[in-house]
C-alpha cells in the first residue's frame, strides 16, 4: 500500500472513515516507520485541539483575534430584555454562549430553558437563577462553589457543565448550564412502568450510589425529592425533555436515574423569593415533606450528608407506598415542622403487609429523627437495600428497647426525677420487651406465610426471626438488670429507700455484675459493662472503668474473635480510659486494634474511623510524635468535613485537635486561626454553656500566650476558668488544669505570689482527682518550679523539677519530648548553680529527644543545642562546643532571622568559644 496522506491519517484517527479503510491504513501503519511517526505526531496534535479550539473561539468573541458571527457575552446590549418570563419579559435568544431553544419551566428559583451550547455542540438545560450575584465577593463564591459542582461526574448525577454570571441592564444574573436529561420523575416513572417493589428498590439503590459519590466529593444535595430524580433511557438519543412523554417500555429501557440540581439548592435558596412554600391559603407545597427534622428546624449548620439520607428515606417510603410518611396538607410551616420533628411515621408494613420485616426496618432507619441513628451515609443505605435484594441479612436493626426507653424518658423528663425512674423502667421494659417478642413471632409467621414454597428462603426468614427473638431477649435482660439494680432505690418497691445518686447506682450495678447477674447472657453483659465503664470513665473513676471495659473486651473477643463493632467500641473506651491514666503504650495498642477493626467493617471512610484517628492523633501527640499526630489530625478533619460537611461539632473538635498539635509544632499563628474557627463553630452549634467552649477558649488563650499577646490571653483564660467552674464539679480535673493555665499568665506578668497560690491549688485538686503519678501533676510541678527559680529559690525549684521528671519518665518515657524538655529546664537551673557535670547528661538527652520528636530545623532543637554548646564551652571542651554552637546558630537564624536574640546569643557564644580556642592555641605555642 502507498503511504496514506495526512488527510487519510487524520480521518482514520478521528474515526471518520469506513471500518475497511481504517483496517487497511492501520495495517500499513504498523509496518511503516514513517507513517507510524506521523500518526504519533497527528495524535499529539489532535490532543490539543479541544483546548485550542475553545481559545480560538473565545478570542474571536472577545475581539482579541478577529470578528466572528455569534454572540458576544461582553456586549451588554445583547442581553437587554432577556430575563425570561419570570420578570414579564420575552424569552431571550442567547444567554452567555448558549442559544436558547425554549423554556422548559419556571418556578421559585427562576427559569429553566432548553438551550444549545456552541462548543461542544450539545443540548443543555440552562437554569437562570433569580439569585443575583450582586457583589464581586458573592459572585466569586458562586463561581468557586460551582467549580466544585462541575467536578461531580457520575452516571447517576446530571452533570453541571458551567456556572456563571452575566451582565444585564438590570444587573448581574447567574445561571447553571447542565446536562439535559431526557426522562421522567422517579415516582411517575415507577407508576407508569408498573414496577414492583424490588425494581423500585433497585432504582433507589442506584440513586443512593449517586448521592454517596457526591457526598464523598464534599457536596450535599439539600433538596432531594422525586422531581429531582429523572429516570433516563439507557443510551437514549432524544435530548429533549418532553413533559407529556411517558415511558412506554416496561422492560427496563428507562432504567437509569439521573439526579438533578446537585448542590445548587443553596444558590436557589439564596433568593428569599424562591423559598415560598405556601399557596395563598397556607398549604404547603414544594419540598417540605422531604426535609429532615434538622432541616425544618432551620439551622443550616446542622445539615450534613445524613440530611440527604433522610430525604432518600422519604423517597423510598413514597416510592414503595405511594404516599408520604406524614400528611402535611393544610398545615402551616411551624406545624409541619413540628410533625416532622416529633411524629413517628406509620410503618410501611402497616400500609402494605408485604413490606413488613427488612424493608420496613430499612426505611425506618433512614427516617430516624436523630441523624446519629440514621444510616451514616447513602452508601450504607444502598448496601442494606442490596442485602435485602440479595436475600442477605441486613445490617439495620429495629430501634432497640433501650433507645425507645430513652426517647420515652426524654418526652416525660419531668416524671423521671429521682428514684421513680425504676418504676417507669419496669413498666416500659415490660411493654417493649413484650412488643419485641411479639414482633419476632410475627416475623416468623409472616415468613412462613410468604415464603412457604421456598425452603432456603424459609430458613433465612427463620434465621431473621430467631435473630429478632435473640435481640428481644437481650434487651429484656438488659432492662431487667437495670430494673433490678435500681429496685432497692424505688420507694414503691423498697419502702424507706432514698434517692440514689448516679455513682451509687453504678456501684450497685457493678456489684450485681461481679456476682454474675448476667454471666449467662454474655452479649448483654458486654453491652452493659461497656456502658457502665464509659460512664465511670467520664466521672473520673478510671480504675473501676478499666475493670468493666477490660471484661467487656474479653467477652467480645470470645464472642466475635474476628472483631465486631461492639468490640471496637469497647476497645475504644478502654483505650480512652488508659489514656486518661497516662498508660499510653497500652492505650495506643487498643486504639490501633479498634481502628483496624472498624476499617475492616466499614471501609476507610466512616465517622467512627475519623473519631478514632483523632483520638490516636492526640495520643501520638502526647507520646511526642508531633509529625504523625499532625498527619492523623488532618486525616480526621478531612474525613469529617467530607462526611459531615463544613460546619459540625465534630469538625469543630477536629479543628481544635489539629490546632493543639500545630501549636506544639511552633505554628501558633495557624493554631490561633483554627482555634478561633473551632470556637466560633462550637458556640454557634452548641451554645455558650458547653464544656468544649471553655476547653477551646483555654487552648486559644495559650496560643495567644505563645504569640506574646498576654493581656488578651489572660482575659480569655479567666473567662474559660469561670465557665469551667460553672459547668463542672469542683473536683473535676479540668478545673485544676484551668487554674494551672491561668497561673501561666499571672506568672508572666510578674505576680509571683498569686501565681504560686494558683499552682498550689491546682496541684491539690489534681492530686485528689488523678492521683500522685499523673503527667498533669508533673506539668504543674514544672510551672511552680519556674516561679521558685525566678525568685532565686533554686533548691525548691530543683526538687519540683526532679519530681516532675520522675513522673514523666514513668508515664511518657525517658526520651519523650516533654520529659526531655523538663530535663532541659532542670539543666538550665543546674547551670545557674554551676553544677555543670549534672547538667550535661540532661542536655544531651534533651537534644536527642528533640531531634527524635521535632522536624529538622525546629527552633527548640536550636535552643537545646545553644545551651549544650555553652555548657561544653564552660567545661572547656571547645571543639565540641564550636560545632554545636554553629548548628544552633544556623537553626535559630533560619527560624527567626539573624537579628533574633536567640540567634544573636548563639553567635555571641560562638565568638566567645573561638576566642577561647585561639587563646588556648596561643598558650600552647608560648614556652
Amino acid at each position: 500500500m502507498v503511504c496514506p496522506d495526512l488527510e487519510q491519517l487524520d480521518e482514520c484517527l478521528a474515526g471518520a472513515m469506513s471500518d475497511e479503510d481504517r483496517a487497511s491504513i492501520e495495517a500499513h501503519v504498523e509496518t511503516c516507520a514513517r507513517c507510524s511517526a506521523r500518526v504519533q505526531e497527528i495524535r499529539a496534535n489532535l490532543n490539543v485541539v479541544p483546548r485550542v479550539a475553545t481559545i480560538v473561539r473565545t478570542g474571536r468573541r472577545t475581539g482579541e483575534t478577529q470578528p466572528a458571527a455569534g454572540p458576544s457575552p461582553s456586549d451588554d446590549s445583547r442581553f437587554a430584555n432577556r430575563l425570561g418570563p419570570s420578570r414579564g419579559d420575552t424569552t431571550p435568544d442567547w444567554i452567555g454562549s448558549y442559544r436558547i431553544v425554549r423554556e422548559i419551566g419556571h418556578g421559585g428559583m427562576g427559569v429553566v430553558y432548553e438551550a444549545e451550547q456552541e462548543n461542544p455542540r450539545r443540548g443543555v438545560a440552562l437554569k437562570l437563577l433569580r439569585f443575583d450575584a450582586a457583589t464581586p465577593e458573592l459572585r466569586r463564591r458562586f463561581e468557586h462553589e460551582s467549580a466544585m459542582l462541575a467536578r461531580l461526574n457520575h452516571p447517576s448525577i446530571a452533570q453541571i457543565y458551567e456556572a456563571s454570571t452575566f451582565e444585564t441592564q438590570e444587573g448581574p444574573r447567574s445561571f447553571f448550564a447542565m446536562e439535559l436529561v431526557d426522562g421522567v420523575p422517579l415516582t411517575r416513572f415507577a407508576e407508569s412502568a408498573g414496577l414492583g417493589a424490588r425494581q423500585r428498590l433497585e432504582l433507589m439503590a442506584q440513586v443512593c450510589d449517586g448521592v454517596h459519590y457526591a457526598h464523598l466529593q464534599g457536596v450535599i444535595h439539600r433538596d432531594l425529592k422525586p422531581a429531582n430524580v429523572l429516570i433516563a433511557p439507557v443510551g437514549g438519543t432524544d435530548r429533549r425533555v418532553g413533559p407529556d412523554r411517558a415511558p412506554s417500555d416496561r422492560t427496563g429501557t428507562f432504567a437509569h436515574p439521573k439526579i438533578l440540581d446537585f448542590g445548587i439548592a443553596r444558590w436557589i435558596d439564596a433568593d428569599p423569593r424562591a423559598t415560598t412554600q405556601f399557596t395563598g391559603v397556607g398549604k404547603i407545597i414544594g419540598t417540605i415533606p422531604y426535609m429532615s427534622p434538622e432541616q425544618v428546624s432551620g439551622d443550616s449548620s446542622e445539615l450534613d450528608v445524613r440530611s440527604d439520607v433522610y430525604a432518600l428515606g422519604v423517597m423510598t417510603y413514597e416510592l414503595l407506598t405511594g404516599r408520604l410518611p406524614y400528611s402535611l396538607d393544610d398545615r402551616s410551616l411551624p406545624e409541619a415542622a413540628r410533625v416532622i420533628r416529633e411524629q413517628t411515621p406509620t410503618p410501611i408494613g402497616e400500609i402494605d403487609r408485604t413490606l413488613r420485616g427488612d424493608v420496613e426496618t430499612i426505611v425506618a432507619k433512614a427516617l430516624e429523627k436523630e441523624k446519629e441513628r440514621r444510616y451514616q451515609s447513602a452508601a450504607e443505605l444502598a448496601a442494606d437495600i442490596r442485602r435485602y435484594l440479595n436475600h442477605e441479612p441486613i445490617v439495620a436493626r429495629p430501634a432497640s428497647a433501650i433507645y425507645q426507653l430513652s426517647r420515652f424518658a426524654r418526652r416525660h423528663r419531668g416524671l423521671l426525677a429521682g428514684a421513680a425512674v425504676a418504676a417507669v423502667v419496669m413498666i416500659v421494659a415490660t411493654v417493649v420487651s413484650t412488643w419485641l417478642a411479639a414482633r419476632a413471632i410475627r416475623a416468623e409467621g409472616l415468613a412462613a406465610d410468604r415464603l412457604k414454597d421456598a425452603v432456603a428462603a424459609q430458613a433465612r426468614a427463620e434465621e431473621r426471626a430467631e435473630a429478632a427473638r435473640r435481640e428481644a431477649t437481650k434487651f429484656k435482660a438488659a432492662l431487667e438488670f437495670i430494673d433490678d439494680t435500681l429496685a432497692s432505690a424505688d420507694p414503691y418497691r423498697s419502702p424507706g429507700a432514698k434517692e440514689v445518686s448516679l455513682g451509687e447506682a453504678l456501684a450497685r450495678a457493678s456489684d450485681s455484675l461481679t456476682s454474675g447477674a448476667l454471666s449467662e447472657q454474655p452479649e448483654v453483659e458486654m453491652s452493659v459493662r461497656t456502658m457502665i465503664g464509659n460512664t465511670l470513665r467520664s466521672a473520673g473513676d478510671y480504675e473501676s472503668a478499666e475493670a468493666h471495659l477490660k471484661r467487656a473486651v474479653e467477652i467480645g473477643e470470645r464472642l466475635t474473635p474476628g472483631g465486631s463493632e461492639e468490640l471496637a467500641l469497647a476497645l475504644n473506651k478502654l483505650a480512652r480510659t488508659w489514656e486518661s491514666q497516662a498508660r499510653f503504650p497500652e492505650a495506643e495498642e487498643a486504639y490501633r486494634r479498634a481502628l483496624e477493626m472498624r476499617q475492616s467493617i466499614h471501609g476507610e471512610a466512616h465517622i467512627e474511623i475519623a473519631k478514632l484517628k483523632s483520638n490516636l492523633g492526640w495520643l501520638r501527640h502526647q507520646r511526642g510524635d508531633l509529625v504523625e499526630a499532625e498527619s492523623l489530625q488532618r486525616e480526621a478533619l478531612a474525613m469529617r468535613r467530607r462526611l459531615l460537611g463544613e460546619s459540625h461539632t465534630e469538625v469543630a473538635t477536629s479543628l481544635n485537635n489539629l490546632a493543639i498539635t500545630l501549636q506544639a509544632l511552633g505554628n501558633a499563628a495557624e493554631a490561633e486561626r483554627l482555634f478561633r474557627e473551632s470556637l466560633e463553630m462550637d458556640q454557634r452549634l452548641r451554645g455558650e454553656d458547653h464544656p468544649n467552649i471553655a476547653d477551646t477558649m483555654t487552648n486559644l488563650a495559650l496560643a495567644l500566650k505563645d504569640l506574646n499577646r498576654m493581656e488578651e490571653g489572660e482575659t480569655l483564660m479567666r473567662e474559660a476558668v469561670k465557665k469551667r467552674g460553672a459547668l463542672l464539679a469542683p473536683d473535676h480535673p479540668a478545673v485544676a488544669t484551668g487554674l494551672n493555665n491561668l497561673a501561666l499568665f499571672v506568672f508572666r506578668r510578674g505576680a509571683f505570689d498569686e501565681a504560686e497560690a494558683l499552682y498550689r491549688e491546682s496541684i491539690e485538686l489534681t492530686r485528689a482527682a488523678l492521683g500522685s503519678n499523673h503527667p498533669t501533676l508533673a506539668m504543674t510541678f514544672c510551672n511552680l518550679a519556674a516561679v521558685h527559680e525566678q525568685q532565686g529559690e533554686f533548691v525548691d525549684a530543683e526538687a519540683l523539677f526532679r519530681q516532675a521528671i520522675e513522673i514523666q519518665r514513668e508515664t511518657y518515657g525517658v526520651s519523650n519530648i516533654t520529659t526531655v524538655g523538663t530535663g532541659f529546664q532542670l539543666a538550665v537551673l543546674l547551670m545557674k548553680q554551676n553544677k555543670l557535670e549534672e547538667a550535661e547528661p540532661l542536655l544531651a538527652a534533651a537534644v536527642i529527644g528533640a531531634r527524635g520528636s521535632l522536624p529538622a530545623g525546629h527552633w527548640k532543637i536550636g535552643l537545646f543545642l545553644r545551651y549544650q554548646g555553652e555548657l561544653l564551652m564552660r567545661l572547656e571542651r571547645l571543639d565540641e562546643s564550636e560545632a554545636i554552637l554553629k548548628e544552633a546558630h544556623e537553626i535559630m537564624s533560619t527560624a527567626f532571622g539573624a537579628e533574633h536574640p536567640g540567634a544573636a546569643r548563639a553567635a555571641e557564644l560562638l565568638e566567645e568559644v573561638r576566642i577561647k580556642s585561639l587563646k588556648q592555641e596561643a598558650a600552647a605555642i608560648e614556652p
Binding site: R51, V52, I55, R140, A147, Y161, E646, S647, R676, E677
Partner: protein, 214 residues
Amino acid sequence: MTMRIPFNPNARPSAGVVMEWTTTSTILSQLRDRQNDAAWSRLVERFRAPIIAFAHKAGASQTDAEDVAQETLVEFAESFRLGRFDPSRGRLSRWIFGIAFNQILRLRQSNARREAKAVSGMDTGFWHDVMDEDRAHELWELEWEQAVLEQCIARARKEFTADVMSAFEGAVADHRSAAEVAADLGVSTKTIYNAKHRVLTRIRAIRAEIEEIG
C-alpha cells in the same frame, strides 16, 4: 476531567502586547542579571496571567490576586537565581504552582479574621475551607494550560500567514468538515489538513519552549 468554569471576564487581566519571542530558558538565564528589566517584563508577561486567574479562583480579590502574582514571580525569579530549581524534580508549572499556592495560603491566613467577620451570619462554608492542595493544583493546571496555549496561538499568528491561520481555525474551531472549510476558502482539502497540522505542530513546539527549561 471536569468542565472548566470560565471566570468573570471582567476580572481577566488584559492580554498585553506580545513581545519578541524568547524561550523561557533564555528569559530565565537573562534573569540572572538583576538589571535586566526586559527579561523581568517577559517573565511577567508570560506567567502573570495564569497566577492571577488561579489566585482569583482560589478566592482572592482582584487586588490580592495581583499581589499574589507579583510576590510569586519575585520569589520564583529569586529562587531561580539561587539555583534552587531542579528540573529533574518536576515541571516548571508545578514549581510556580508551589510558590503561588503558598502565597495564597499566606494571604488567606492574614485575611482569615477579616473575612470571618465580614461574612458572619451568612452561609458561607467555603470561606472557612483551606483549599485542598490537590484541588488547587487541578485548578492551576487548567489556568496554566489556558494561558500557555493563548500565548502559543498568539505566537503562531505572527509566524503563519492569514490564509494558513484561517484554514487552521476553520478546521479546528468551527466544527465544520475540511471539505466545507476548503470550499469556503477556495482551496483543496489537502491544504486544510496541512494547515491544521502545521499550526498544531508549531503550537506544541512553542508550548515546549514556554514550559521546558533546557
